[in-house]
């Protein structure tokens, strides 16, 4: 059974239909990516799965159990964490406090253990743990946002545009970490505008266009697909 299974999902903002009947599956251990242009419905899909937006119709199942209509704070408890677009770290709180918030639904004992693992993935966060998050660089804030999401020990980690606004060298670093996290056992759903990077790390990918899925395949297949190359990889 798929870890996450989304079927015929429809989401609207008032009269505007953002997602028009998309379906996809994510299996345990995979990196799956949703790529597509601005406004294709990628972030809307993640926000809906995370419980921030209520869908109009469709099903979202985590290991066969429906999570549609659950509040976002309940979805986290089920083992789904979203690292949101634009990082959204708590800028006036310290790095350690941000991470503590990430483990809000977990016990202190568990958090202590998870914190060591997060610091192992992101040594820089450990160095800066008492620093206020607003003073971190963009790359460090992205790492903090990812570390914070990991603190809930998610079965599935959803990353929304982790490379946005970062220098190329940092983009590479972030994607290396994504691969490491996956190798360490975290299933990942990745939304990216940087299709090249996303496809090169992903096991499988879905191409979104105006709220529908246009194409699907392995990352390697889509990297060489003519349509995908023309539309998203600059020829």
């Amino acid at each position: 059974m798929a870890l996450l299974s989304v079927k015929d999902l429809h989401v609207s903002y008032g009269a505007i239909k953002a997602v028009r009947g998309i379906s996809f599956d994510i299996n345990e251990g995979e990196i799956v990516t949703l790529i597509g242009a601005n406004g294709a419905g990628k972030s809307t899909t993640l926000n809906t799965v995370a419980g921030l937006i209520k869908p109009e119709s469709g099903s979202i199942e985590l290991e066969g159990q429906s999570i549609v209509g659950l509040h976002a704070h309940k979805v986290v408890q089920r083992g789904l964490a979203l690292c949101p677009e634009g990082r959204r770290v708590f800028t006036q709180m310290s790095v350690a406090e941000n991470l503590e918030m990430g483990g809000y639904t977990r016990s202190d004992a568990e958090n202590k253990e998870t914190l060591e693992k997060v610091y192992a993935h992101f040594p820089r966060l450990k160095e800066r743990r008492s620093q206020v998050a607003g003073t971190l660089s963009g790359g460090e804030q992205q790492m903090l946002a990812m570390g914070r999401a990991l603190m809930s020990k998610p079965r599935l980690l959803m990353l929304d545009e982790p490379s946005m606004g970062l220098a190329p060298i940092l983009v590479q670093e972030i994607f290396d970490i994504v691969k490491q996290l996956n190798a360490a056992g975290t299933t990942i759903l990745l939304v990216e505008q940087n299709a090249n990077m996303a496809l090169s790390v992903a096991d499988r990918a879905y191409v979104l266009e105006i709220g529908t899925i246009k194409k699907t395949g392995t990352g390697a297949e889509l990297l060489v697909d003519d349509d995908v190359r023309k539309a998203y990889l600059g020829g």
Binding site: A50, G51, L52, H71, A72, H73, V76, Q77, A81, L82, P84, R88, V89, F90, T91, Q92, M93, E97, E100, M101, G102, Y104, T105, R148, A149, S152
Partner: protein, 290 residues
């Protein structure tokens, strides 16, 4: 004489500070100027009057019930009036707050009548001796209680899990939800803490001025609002400093035999702050969230 005036300033300022803390906390978390906050003090004063003058029960029970009633009232107001408007434009909820304020004032007038009720003394001790000075016991108690309450509040906000959740929600509600924080519970908790402080303020106020009337919360609340803005709305130390400044301003004006001007001076302070430093003493410039 001088010490008496300083103590008067501290006493009045402390009460403003306690009320301003509730204003500033609620503003910090849901960006609402809760204009019904002052009226919560009126509720607390009436409860003290009911328990002591009507039921003849012990003052300690009156204190406990007053603080409990204020806490409950604060949470209830949020649940009934503000929570349904969480996603509404900010103006709607602001107007609702004004409506709740009128509702409480007129409700109290309906139930208790328009005339002031005399709240009996909570304690027989009127003065305490300190190094040859006879100090007013209610004044000293007010200052001490305010110090303890402020320290306790700071610890709650800085160190406890719920306090940190409050800070997270106040900074980014959506991100806080993604952490697994129950935003509604956190907001209720904020109202509870802010209103409990108002309840303590109510007891201290009734101790000093020994009366309860339906509109007593209006001017008190407005001045506490001035205090919160003066200190920088959203800032906890700001509310305390702002409260003390407003209290001292009033006491100084009164000491100069210009007591008819004391309200005007407080609002003049507000105007000066809004013109010179709109973010207040401890305020940060906040970027509007998009």
């Amino acid at each position: 004489m001088f010490f008496t005036q300083v103590l008067n300033g501290l006493q009045l300022g402390s009460i403003y500070a306690l009320v301003a803390l509730g204003y500033t906390m609620v503003y910090g978390i849901i960006l609402l100027l809760n204009f019904a906050h002052g009226d919560i003090i009126m509720v607390g004063a009436y409860v003290s009057w009911l328990v002591m003058a009507q039921l003849g029960l012990h003052p300690v029970l009156a204190i406990i019930l007053s603080v409990a009633a204020c806490t409950l009232m604060g949470v209830l107001i949020d649940k009934v009036a503000y929570a349904p408007l969480r996603n509404a434009p900010r103006l709607s909820i602001l107007i609702t707050a004004i409506g709740v304020s009128y509702f409480l004032e007129n409700g109290a007038q309906l139930v208790f009548g328009a005339d002031a009720k005399v709240v009996p003394a909570y304690t027989d001790i009127q003065t305490i001796q300190l190094g040859g000075l006879a100090l007013s016991f209610p004044s000293v108690l007010t200052v001490l209680v305010t110090i303890v309450a402020t320290v306790a509040l700071t610890i709650v906000v800085q160190k406890t899990k719920l306090g940190k959740a409050m800070r997270a929600v106040s900074e980014d509600m959506g991100a806080a939800r993604l952490m697994g924080i129950n935003v509604n519970t956190t907001i209720s908790f904020t109202f509870a803490v802010g209103s409990a402080l108002a309840g303590i303020g109510a007891v201290l106020y009734a101790m000093a001025y020994t009366q309860a009337n339906p509109t007593m919360g209006m001017m008190l609340g407005t001045k506490a609002f001035v205090a919160a803005v003066l200190g920088g709305i959203g800032s906890i130390p700001g509310a305390v400093v702002g409260g003390l400044l407003v209290g001292f301003a009033e006491v100084i004006v009164t000491a100069l035999n210009l007591s008819v001007w004391k309200d005007a001076v407080v609002f003049l302070l507000l105007i000066i702050v809004l013109v010179v430093r709109p973010t207040g003493i401890f305020g940060r410039t906040m970027n509007e969230k998009v």
